[in-house]
Symmetry: C2
Subunit: 478 residues, 2 copies
């Protein structure tokens, strides 16, 4: 982000006006388009609003921009001559297409995270940077020979990585599969996007968990799916609900996160799994098993995945490196029957001609080296320690104000507050105090629930973050 | 691809049966799904068809598969017990969604390329592997410090790469832009996908060139766009046609490849460009400038891009490393006004949470090092030499049977055959002789045109490839 130079002799407002003029001439803001509001730009480049007002005045005096009361400052349509320029109406174009926006509360949280780097972040369901295998990655880049072909890749992804995954998944999770059943994706998001775009049609009914991470994904809305929700209890969903949903709404697919569910951290009881699979097979409904967290299992004993006990072939399995190594690698995998893998691979070619071979090569080197095993042990310990810190802080500072079943894996703790609370007020009070979390309503739960991701804050932030949160809660109840 | 071990004591058919049984049990072929046809499998694993028949017999005897006459061999539905398994009807699911298939001729060519590695390939519009900057990539991986953050990336892409691109595009192509106007994509395909998905709606009319690479992209069909075509002459399209298309069909966007157009290799005359831009601005229609080839200009003097002379802000500029470095890197860029970039970045987050940081880091190191300049000089020389070889061979072996204006950049030569010819017969005759090319009809032209990509074959294949092609043409005219 450009910022004015405070040591320069040129006045700040003049620097801002010059920079903005350049941006306008270079097409960032074409004739007729709106400049950022004075308040927003002032925040971004860290100057007083009055300085931005002065800069915009300067541009107005030069005839580069014009203001219409109430609607902001826009680039002059007569910038290029006497007749108004009829540049495309970019705003109208940008309103087209079929992508639904994010939930307002998620947008608000993302905005805060972008603008306030110092806030204590319990909201992002992501590892903190010191939990990434930074050294392993650097070592592999430096030392592993790069022997991957630099042309377009196989539509299903880099074959050596798929072969490594066959033994990796067998060893780590007892999942037996073949290299031709694997589609390498850029992560679970792309896997889910391909599934919703290619295997379902607008109007189709699908079942998701309640609460559910899927609820927070505008992707489901964008695809025009009708979402029906199955309550998640302490031991996961009740399989029998599948049948009644099928009878009532003809659901065509079930999205589940059976191990350390996001957001509740719960586990679908092992005893329920065979029944669930049997029902799905009898009804002919695929189950999408979203499984980002199994390998984070604190005691290294994740419950057996649906995929690993699926004799009927009803499960589409979705995994990735995002939560067990680093999200920025963008490497994930989807396991499915040939018919499905081929279809999804074909559609992905139309979208982006497939993935870069570089991260796939790197992921392959990482998974087949001893470096992954060392990393995942380190990660399990760190996550288990962080969750313990979080629970200790919660118990000390919120005592009887909440209930929470400690998770046994994953990145998230799910709290029920014992008093009624207004989610968005609690969020705003917390933001004021420098801490952010995900209100349960974001995942479709009723108000009064909170998801804390304990993986993202630094160790020393866990306690002070909960202290700030406790103060926010306290302020609300006064 | 698995293949039976010919040195093993176990008979071939038994090895095949065992391998297939494993694939069935591991879910590659769930109950009720079809196995590959005997002919296809025999080709893939390089055995006689009778051996595959014997293997399938074995599986049939064990009750694992069943054959219904005419419809092939399918996995038994009773595989898992007495009652038939009601696994999801994957075939029906795979028929859902909105992705149009590739043109049959393109599918045919891709299949041939997959199965016959030794064929001389004039069809793929891609660099041959020895033209990739292999050594530079290896050197950078080994030596450049990896300092990119491993978390989720900025939705617009890795900022250091965008900053490098600002000076790179200014220096190389006189394109002046700002880092906030750039969206890093995985290549032109993703840029075009985002544009068609986010800025246009089904039923919208758009203009493309005739012939045009866009015509070969099912993406346009999948998005439900109505395509209207503007003939490409020796000096590119006639801008005045835009206006009449607008009056008649209200076209909402224009897709052009002005420099070394794919497939014709033609250049939109510099004298036509200001008029085109003026018309687009007056009508308020965006021009998508697809520009994969400018930097391949054989004499390093590409015509000034539309983007570089676009004062009205009507141009969306699409570039990538695929044709000037390596397609497997999957790094491209789109330059657009803020409103558009933000919208596309947001939609891309929904599809895949953005790009891997690793290839972006690598591309940044490559572009800002001296290695790129050295590589692009080498590439220009090589391409110019290859085209010369191709033209020499054509002149020698086809003499007066064709006409062709030699390209001044890009990867393609466009031939008009002087005699009428049946495209698909010519293709089949050529395949028989071990050479493949793109018939012009694939790009929407009338029969009798041929696109030769001279970048893909090895130098020594150029002459023998044309010889085989000449023989095929000869056989057809006999």
């Amino acid at each position: 982000m450009w910022k004015p130079d405070r040591r320069s002799k040129k006045p700040l407002y003049q620097q801002i006006a010059d920079d903005m003029e350049r941006r306008i001439l270079y097409g960032e803001y074409p004739p007729g388009s709106f400049l950022p509001s004075e308040r927003k730009l002032a925040e971004q480049i860290e100057v007083n609003r009055s300085t931005v007002i002065q800069a915009y005045e300067e541009l107005r005096a030069k005839g580069i921009v014009e203001s219409s009361s109430g609607s902001g400052t826009r680039v002059s349509k007569r910038l290029l001559g006497v007749t108004p320029s009829l540049t495309p109406n970019w705003r109208a174009y940008a309103r087209g297409g079929t992508f639904a926006p994010n939930l307002p509360m998620i947008r608000r949280i993302r905005e805060v995270l972008r603008e306030r780097g110092s806030i204590i972040d319990f909201a992002s369901g992501e590892l903190s940077p010191d939990l990434y295998p930074n050294q392993a990655i650097q070592q592999l880049l430096r030392e592993a020979p790069f022997e991957a072909p630099l042309g377009y890749d196989d539509p299903q992804g880099f074959l050596p990585l798929r072969e490594t995954l066959v033994s990796f998944l067998d060893k780590q999770l007892n999942i037996r599969t073949t290299e031709s059943s694997i589609l390498i994706t850029s992560g679970s998001q792309q896997s889910l996007y391909l599934i919703t775009q290619c295997l379902l049609a607008p109007g189709d009914a699908v079942a998701i968990e309640d609460p559910s991470y899927s609820y927070s994904l505008p992707m489901f809305q964008s695809a025009g799916l009708r979402l029906f929700r199955i309550p998640v209890h302490e031991n996961g969903i009740d399989p029998e609900e599948i049948e009644s949903l099928f009878r009532q709404h003809r659901i065509r697919m079930i999205f589940l996160n059976p191990n350390y569910q996001n957001p509740t951290g719960s586990i679908l009881a092992a005893s329920k799994r065979p029944r669930l699979l049997k029902l799905a097979a009898e009804l002919g409904i695929p189950i999408v098993e979203d499984d980002p967290f199994s390998l984070t299992s604190f005691d290294n004993r994740p419950p057996a995945n649906l995929k690993s006990i699926d004799a009927h072939g009803s499960v589409l399995y979705v995994g990735s490196l995002s939560k067990i190594a680093a999200s920025g690698l963008r490497v994930g995998w989807l396991i499915a029957p040939q018919t499905v893998v081929k279809r999804l691979a074909d559609a992905r070619q139309q979208m982006d001609f497939g993935l870069s071979v570089v991260p796939q090569w790197l992921a392959n080197e990482f998974l087949r080296s001893g470096l992954f095993d060392r990393h995942i042990r380190f990660l399990r310990d760190a996550l288990s320690r962080k969750q313990l810190h979080l629970m200790t802080a919660l118990n000390r500072m919120l005592a009887d104000k909440f209930s929470c079943i400690p998770a046994q894996g994953g990145l998230n703790s799910w709290l029920k507050l014992n008093q009624p609370v207004d989610d968005s007020k609690l969020l705003e009070e917390s933001l004021k105090r420098g801490v952010v979390f995900m209100p349960g309503t974001v995942f479709g739960s009723e108000p009064g629930y909170v998801r804390f991701s304990f993986a993202r804050p630094a160790d020393h932030e866990l306690e002070s973050g909960i202290q700030k949160f406790a103060q926010a809660l306290h302020a609300l109840n006064d």
